[in-house]
Each structure stands twice: as C-alpha cells, then as structure tokens.
Symmetry: C2
Subunit: 449 residues, 2 copies
C-alpha cells in the first residue's frame, strides 16, 4: 500500500555524508602514490562532478534547477508499505520499500545520469558522454539523460550481455545511443584482450577500461560512472532524503535499512540520509551475492576501478580488478569493488553484510511479486531475500521492527531471468575462492602520502 | 515535462457517458433476438458488473473504497507536456499525454482489472476469474488484481503469443496465474478447432470463446472482459477524469483527443469525460491499424464478441467474428469489433478515425522515445503517428492547438518488436479485403425487439 505523499516535495539539495563522519575517508590515489587533485581528474569527468567527488566539507549540495525539473518528471518516487507481504509472512514487522522502478529508464540510475549529463553540457565543448554497462539499465539511463540535454551517448557494453541480453542493447539504440560490444577493436585495452582471446565474453571492468580509454583521449567527451564514486552516491541520496520525509509522514522510523549492493550507490543513496539518525539506531544491511562478495570476502585496499588500471585508485573492499565472477543473472552485482564510502562505513562496522544465492533471491522475488504486484530487478531480489529473513526473525522474536528496503528498479530488461528460473534453468552460484586469491595477489602496491 | 499535480486527488466516481448522450445506444441481444437483462448475464459476470454494464441513468458511479485504495498505489497518473517532441517537430501545437505506463502491470488495463476482481469477491462463492489475453498485458493486470483480492486467475492465451511472446506468459505465471494456450483441449470450442487444425495459432476471439465456455460452466468462476464492454469503458474513465482536472491545472483545454483503438476502452476512458465539454469542441480521433480497421471498414451491426458465438451480441462496428487479421505487432489491435459506446459515437460522427501502418507507427514511437525518454507500447505507437501528423498540420496552418493523447502502457513486454523494427524485420500490414468480406457475410441476422 502506498504511503501517499501528503506533499509532493522533492528535495532541492543532495546530502554529502562525509562531513558527518567521525572518521576519515581515504583519498583517491594516482598509480604513483599521491592523492589526486582536481587537476588530475579533469580530462575524465565534468568540472562540477570533480568538485562534488572531492567535496569534504559541505554537507548539503544544491540540486541545479534543470536537474530538479527533470527529476520532477517522476519524483518523488513512492514509498510503499508491503502489507500483503507482511501478512503472508505472518510477521509483526512492518516492511516499507522505496520504489525507484517508475523512472524513465525503470531504474534508480536515472538519478545520477541526469545530474552528470547536465554538468557535462555546462562544461565547454562536451558533446558526448562515454560509459560502460552490463545489462543496459545504466546505459539506458544515461542515453535518456544525454538526449534530454542534447548531447551524444556512447556505451561500451559487456559483449556477453550485448549478445544475450539483446533487449538492453536495443533499448539503448532506440534511445539513440551508440552501443559498442566490449572488448572491441576500438581501444588499446580491447585489442589487447581480443588478441589473447578473440572470443572473450568481456566484463564490466574491461568495458570500463575501454570507456576510460576513449574518454581520456577525446577533447569533446567525458567519462561517466554509473556507481561506486562519491558523486554518484551523492546524487542517489535523493532517494533517502525523500524516504526519510515519507517515513516521517507514515509515523515510522526504520530500525533496519536493507539494500542489495552492486557498486554501492543504491545503498548509500537510501541509507546515508538516515545516518544522522544513527543515535536512534537504524542498522544498515548490505546484501551481496555469494558469487561476488566484495565486502565479506574482499580486502580493504587500494585498487583500480577497471581491468587495465586506467581509473584512479580507490580505497575500497575489492576482490581484485582481474577477478571475473561466475555469470550470475544479477549482472549489476558482478563488480569487483564497492563504493569507497560504503567500504569506509563497513570498515567502521556501521554497515553489516549478508550474502545470498540467486535461487533463494528469485524465490523471494516471486513471493514479493505475488503479494505486492511487481516483479523486481534481479539485484533487488537479493534484498528481498534478506528482508524476508529479517521479517521472519522478527516473527520468531516477536519484534515489531520497521524494515525499509530499496526496489532499485523493475525487471523490464530481465524477464528472461525469471522465465529461466521458472523453467528450473538457473543454478546457484558459488565463490571461486582460488581465482579470487589470485586476483587479490595482483592488487597494486601503494604507499599512502 | 510533467504537469505536476497541484493536488493528488483521485476521483471517487467513474463517469457513465450514456445519460449525457442525445441518442440511444442499442442494447445487448441474445442470439434469439431479445434484449438481454440482468438475469441473462449473471452466470458470466459479477452481479455489480452487470449492473454497471446495463446502467443507463446514473452518470456518476461511486468507486468502492477498496478499489480506490488500490488505485492510490499508482494514481493519479502523470500528465506530461511533450515539449521536446513539440520542439523537434517545430510545431506551434502543444502536445499533452496522459501516461498510464506506471501502473503495476505497466498498462491502463489495471484500472478495470482491479474493479472487476473487487466485485467478483463481493459475489458469494467466486474463487476464480477467467479471461483471454493476447500479448499478456491484460492477463498480467488481472493476475495482479486477483492476487490482491485473494482469488485465482485463469487465462486463455492466444497460442501464437504463448509460444512467441514468452515474457508475457511468464509474467502472468510468476504472478501466480494459470495460463492455458488457446485453442486448448479443455473446452468444446478449443477441441473443435484443434480437430480441424492441430497447429492452429489461435486468435483472441477463439481464446474468448474458451474463457466464456469455462466461466459459464463453473459455479465458482466468472468471466472477465479486458475491453469492449460498457463497464470496462466506465472503469477507464478514471483516466479522463484525472486528465480533465490536470489539463485545467495546466490552463489548457484539449482541441483534439487522440487514442489508438483496440477494443475502444482506452479511447472511451480518456475522451468521454471531456464529452460534456463538447460545446467547446474537442475533436476525438480514433487511430486504427490498416490490418484491422473495425471502424473505417467494418459494418455497424450486431455481432458476437467471440468466434463461437458464446458472448452476448453487441451492436458495434465489426469486421465479423471469424475475421483473423494479419499478424501485426500491436496484438491488442487485432480484435474484430469495437466498443458499442465508441461505435455509437462514431456512427453519430462524434468520433473521427485515422488508419496507419506499423512502420510509420514505430518510427513515430522512436521519435517519441528519443525526445520524451520512454518507449511506448506498440498500440500507443499508432496514436503517436497520428499526433505527429496532427502537430505537423498545425505547423503548416500555424495553429496553436492543444493535442491530448493516451500512452496506454509501456513497452516492457514488446521490446522484441522494437528490436525487430530496428533490424528491418517488420513489414507493413495490409487489409485482407476478400477475407473480411467473407467474415462480414457470416454476421448473425438479428431482429431487434
């Protein structure tokens, strides 16, 4: 049941958590071991985006009017209470979810895409945004945003997805973006990998390398991150800011906030605005796949965001940039690292983590679909599995907790996943321990400044 | 750009156009030629639904609280102004669209599904709703509604769609519905057709016959119409009632209302609430496919709603119930007849009609997607083609008209259509004149009472 907005207010500021932390967040590093400044990054990202990435002091950052206007096409997004799910679980817990699936692209990734495209057009001479995508939700979001602001969009798409998840590819192309299967012959990294293995299925880390390579070599293009980075988390806080005010309207305060983690921007976006309420105690739970458990099995270390090592080095929980996880359906959760901000809070034990396998996740998603009437994305399915377990624990302990979780998007581009699941064609994933060990041994050695 | 709702009001009454018409609407007939009464229909539909179907006097019919509560999960739906589309067409016209794609099923069909499932549970002993679907949008809507009210849902799905449009099928199954490919061995009609042609691809009219057959033979089940009937149009007027108030907020009054027609409930739902404003002159334009032009090439006559002749006879524009149109992608537009209410208004020259072929429709849809950021359903694509032509005519004549049209749903289940279109694999449709002639010769002979 929708917690009807009593007001239609959309926040006019994003929330930067850094000034509220009582510990430091390690800076980005160059490969030669010095902390990166604005100047080092300006070939990659729009000027204002770098400002936001490096902002340590201001906690409230204004949302430009043009971005706010675009947000108002679908925001505020609804907050629902999952009363029928509660009932089916016979739990005394109250389950709330913030539903981002109604955005133009069907996912929360619109929130940052719009901001990044806006800032790009503010920079003189930027004609194109370049990025990397797996399934296509992020690519579609950026394509819509680039259309809106009248610039081009070029997307390196993981080759296995390009070939198998054709709908994602076509959605991006219909929206006018140029989609290139990665590895490609167009970049140094792509050529190198194809020389070793002409049939390489690619990976998000490889596609990121290709996108970095192209963006850094062009004067008229900028690279765009879909998750991980501070500025992406910042833009996603619009979710939590709205949810905080909607929960207040509902007269409820979350005891636990649950979110699947891919790069971590969804979790940060939903949970960080509640951080100031920490005294009242909302736990924050990140949900990972067994196949790619960056937080629970990764190392807190400096690593690159891409295979080739073209990105800045980030202090984060990482499985190593050469780690290629099993081919699970929640493609967005197959990234080796996780947001430095989420990593820092996990390091400080302010975030807990749970891991699930995909069959349990999709079972929970089907329970959710039958009670709440919508099929969530494969990534959200992992969160739902954790929500169900939390609600059942409340039942056992007779606790009337408030659980809040994020539906990061709908399942438009992933219906094949649920079809295959229904046909019994989906196996549970496992963690390739030895391979991860090898990837961790390749972490860069860095001497902090 | 969204015309932000200044209020979040959802109407609490549906609008029945019949009392406002200055001409009569011919009644439903039995095959032996008498006007059907409540008693004749009660094995098919829930009691209150029959009341609504036959209501001639009350113009405002209350929306039950439970239905209103469910509506509030996604209603009021947004009204947008398509400023970027206007700009790309360089038209002085203002283009508005009411966007129903954000419903739980992604289509406007939720509006009637919820009402029908609600009234079914009010009837003693109803445990199941039985219906027929093509692509699956309607079936998914009814499945969600049945889940919500705790009853079962059984869906006869046109076999060619069951096999080719597998996502629609799986969405319904994930939602817990029983989906049967039609023709099936489960009904008299299905068996008869399979005996003649074991490989029959089926049609909506055949699937309707099967659903009628099952519902009329079961005490615990009721049949559910997804379009055509008066009560379905009634439920869909929630769209136009909201749009009317939102247009007023925008300070604009539509000069022309454009809608693709399948069974006609979308058109009636959007346009009828503006009917009272007829003095100020909103034209109403129905958009058909060349493949199945019920209004422009059909005959205004009594015909059955299904192949077998199990439904009541309806006075409507029809191509004949045995007419099977070419296999175009807008599956919802392949029905031989059209709503008796829409038919009556067309007969009275209060609705005009335009026909388009699918490639022009999908081209217009892509222009819309690139400017407005969403890919509409194949059915809506036909409306967009007419909107573009109307806007270009305004440009030529330097007229600053207000155009309002319906986005009946998103393209979730139809991305394959746009993929095939992009690959050049979609041909334009034509009207099988001779075949339609043969079907028209089989119209039932009826002596009105």
């Amino acid at each position: 049941m929708r917690i009807s907005p009593k007001t239609n207010n959309i926040p006019n500021k994003w929330y930067n958590i850094i000034p509220d932390l009582d510990f430091g967040v390690p800076p980005m590093m160059s490969s030669s071991g010095y902390a990166l400044s604005h100047h080092d990054l300006d070939r990659l990202a729009p000027y204002s985006i770098i400002d936001q990435e490096l902002e340590k002091k201001k906690r409230d950052l204004s949302i430009p009017k043009e971005v706010w206007n675009f947000y108002s096409n679908w925001r505020p997004t609804p907050l629902y209470r999952a009363e029928r799910l509660e009932k089916s679980l016979e739990t005394p817990a109250r389950i709330f979810y913030k539903h981002e699936g109604g955005s133009p692209s069907g996912s929360h990734e619109m929130n940052t895409a719009v901001a990044q495209a806006y800032y790009a057009v503010q920079d003189e001479g930027v004609k194109c945004m370049v990025t990397a995508t797996g399934n296509g939700e992020w690519g579609a979001s950026l394509a819509i945003a680039c259309n809106y602001f009248g610039i081009q969009c070029k997307i390196y798409m993981v080759r296995s997805s390009y070939e198998q998840k054709v709908y994602g590819r076509y959605v991006m192309e219909i929206l006018g973006a140029e989609v290139v299967p990665s590895p490609s012959e167009k970049t140094f990294t792509g050529k190198k990998i194809l020389a070793q293995d002409p049939d390489s299925p690619g990976s998000l880390s490889i596609a990121l390398s290709e996108a970095f390579y192209e963006a850094s070599g062009r004067d008229d293009a900028k690279f765009s991150w879909g998750t991980v980075m501070n500025h992406v988390v910042l833009h996603q806080t619009i979710i939590g800011l709205e949810a905080r005010s909607q929960m207040r309207q509902a007269g409820a305060s979350p005891d636990v906030i649950i979110c699947a983690v891919s790069g971590g921007s969804g979790l940060g976006g939903l949970a960080f605005p509640f951080y100031q309420e920490r005294g009242r105690g909302p736990r924050i739970m990140a949900v990972e796949t067994v196949a790619c458990p960056s937080l629970s099995k990764g190392r807190y270390a400096y690593d690159y965001g891409d295979t080739e090592g073209l990105s800045p080095m980030l202090k984060m929980y990482t499985l190593g940039r050469s780690f290629v996880p099993p081919n699970i359906r929640a493609g967005g959760m197959r990234y080796h690292g996780i947001s430095p901000l989420v990593s820092a809070l996990y390091r400080e034990k302010q975030i807990e983590v749970k891991t699930y396998m995909q069959r349990k996740a999709f079972e929970a998603a089907i329970t959710f679909a039958r009670t709440e009437g919508m099929i969530p994305s494969p990534e959200t399915s992992y969160a739902v599995a954790a929500v169900v377990d939390e609600a059942l624990a409340c039942k056992q302990r007779k606790e009337k907790k408030n659980i809040l979780f994020l539906v990061d998007g709908n399942s438009n581009l992933d219906l094949a996943t649920f079809k295959d699941f229904a046909e019994g064609a989906i196996e549970d994933e496992s963690f390739p321990e030895e391979y991860a060990q090898a990837a961790l041994e390749q972490l860069p050695e860095v001497t902090p400044p």
